[in-house]
């Protein structure tokens, strides 16, 4: 038999889970809107996944680099920094609620990591596609 208490507890649980997810959603949505404001079209998670795996040979060391070089193929698992060996916590917001929860961090890491991985900044279109992919993982 379900008591009122159980229902309340369950409700609270869902609510606690929903709050960080909701804030992630609004942060990501705001980013997407701003990318479109700067010229991007509609976004595709599928395109984002292709970009995620897209390799570019580094002018600096001659090795191919992609997002997976450090983040790995499975966004729900931890990655490993290619150089320092330091663990990189999973990027998937489903298993790591801190991910995609700060616009400032999204900006910071896109800037750094696009430059390191592809040798240039990402376009608004690319960022939107990538975010659309990452948020679904």
């Amino acid at each position: 038999m379900k008591t009122g208490n159980d229902v309340l507890r369950k409700g609270m649980f869902i609510l606690l889970l929903a709050v960080p997810l909701a804030s992630q959603a609004s942060v990501v949505d705001e980013q997407l809107v701003s990318y479109q404001a700067s010229g991007a079209g509609s976004f595709s998670a599928q395109k984002g996944e292709q970009l995620w795996r897209q390799e570019v040979v580094s002018e600096k060391d001659g090795h191919a680099r992609s997002c997976t070089t450090c983040h790995g193929n499975d966004l729900r698992s931890a990655g490993k920094h290619a150089k320092t060996g330091k663990t990189i916590e999973p990027l998937s917001p489903a298993v790591n609620v801190e991910r995609l929860s700060s616009a400032k961090k999204i900006r910071k890491w896109f800037k750094r990591n696009c430059k390191w991985t592809w040798g240039r900044e990402c376009t608004s279109q690319e960022k939107g596609d990538l975010l659309s992919f990452i948020r679904q993982q």
């Binding site: 150089k83 320092t84 330091k86 910071k108 800037k111």
Partner: protein, 192 residues
Amino acid sequence: MDNRKSKTWSIVLTMGFTLGLVGISGMVLSDDDDYEDNDQWSQSRLDVAPVDNAFYKDECGSCHFPYQPGLLPARSWQRLMDGLEDHFAENAELEAADAEQLTIYLTENAADTSDYKRSRGISRSLAKNDAPLRISTTRYFKRKHHELPDRVVKDNPDVRSFSNCELCHTRAAQGSYNEHQVKIPGYADWDD
């Protein structure tokens, strides 16, 4: 009366002399910090001021060990912060206001403005205009680590680099680099 007076003087002088000796021997010992480590009195004293800036810990420590500002002189930190786009072959760019805030923290607490013993040691080991970016290239650091062969650090898969202070110095995060607190992964019995 005169006799008494000179006796008192000789006691005072002896005491003064003894205190002086203690003082001098303390200075001599503290000049080489590894002797000082054996001294109970100074054991509680930290080697470098610990990091007390949450923003620094978060921004820099999310990628690597947050090195205490007291491990390099201000001119090094300035040079390092001016080159974040190529930060040891990584891109570590920050928004201008954030970079500025961190530069202030680093330079104000740098080795050449600190009187913690390792900070003083590092500072003293550098030429006046020398602004190294790596702590491990300072003469002081090299002197302290010269006995370590490559297999123990560079070629040790669990250490890989001298930049990973905290992997061997178990209390590095607290600002303590005492050699008795060193535990090298894979070399449990290492003793130098």
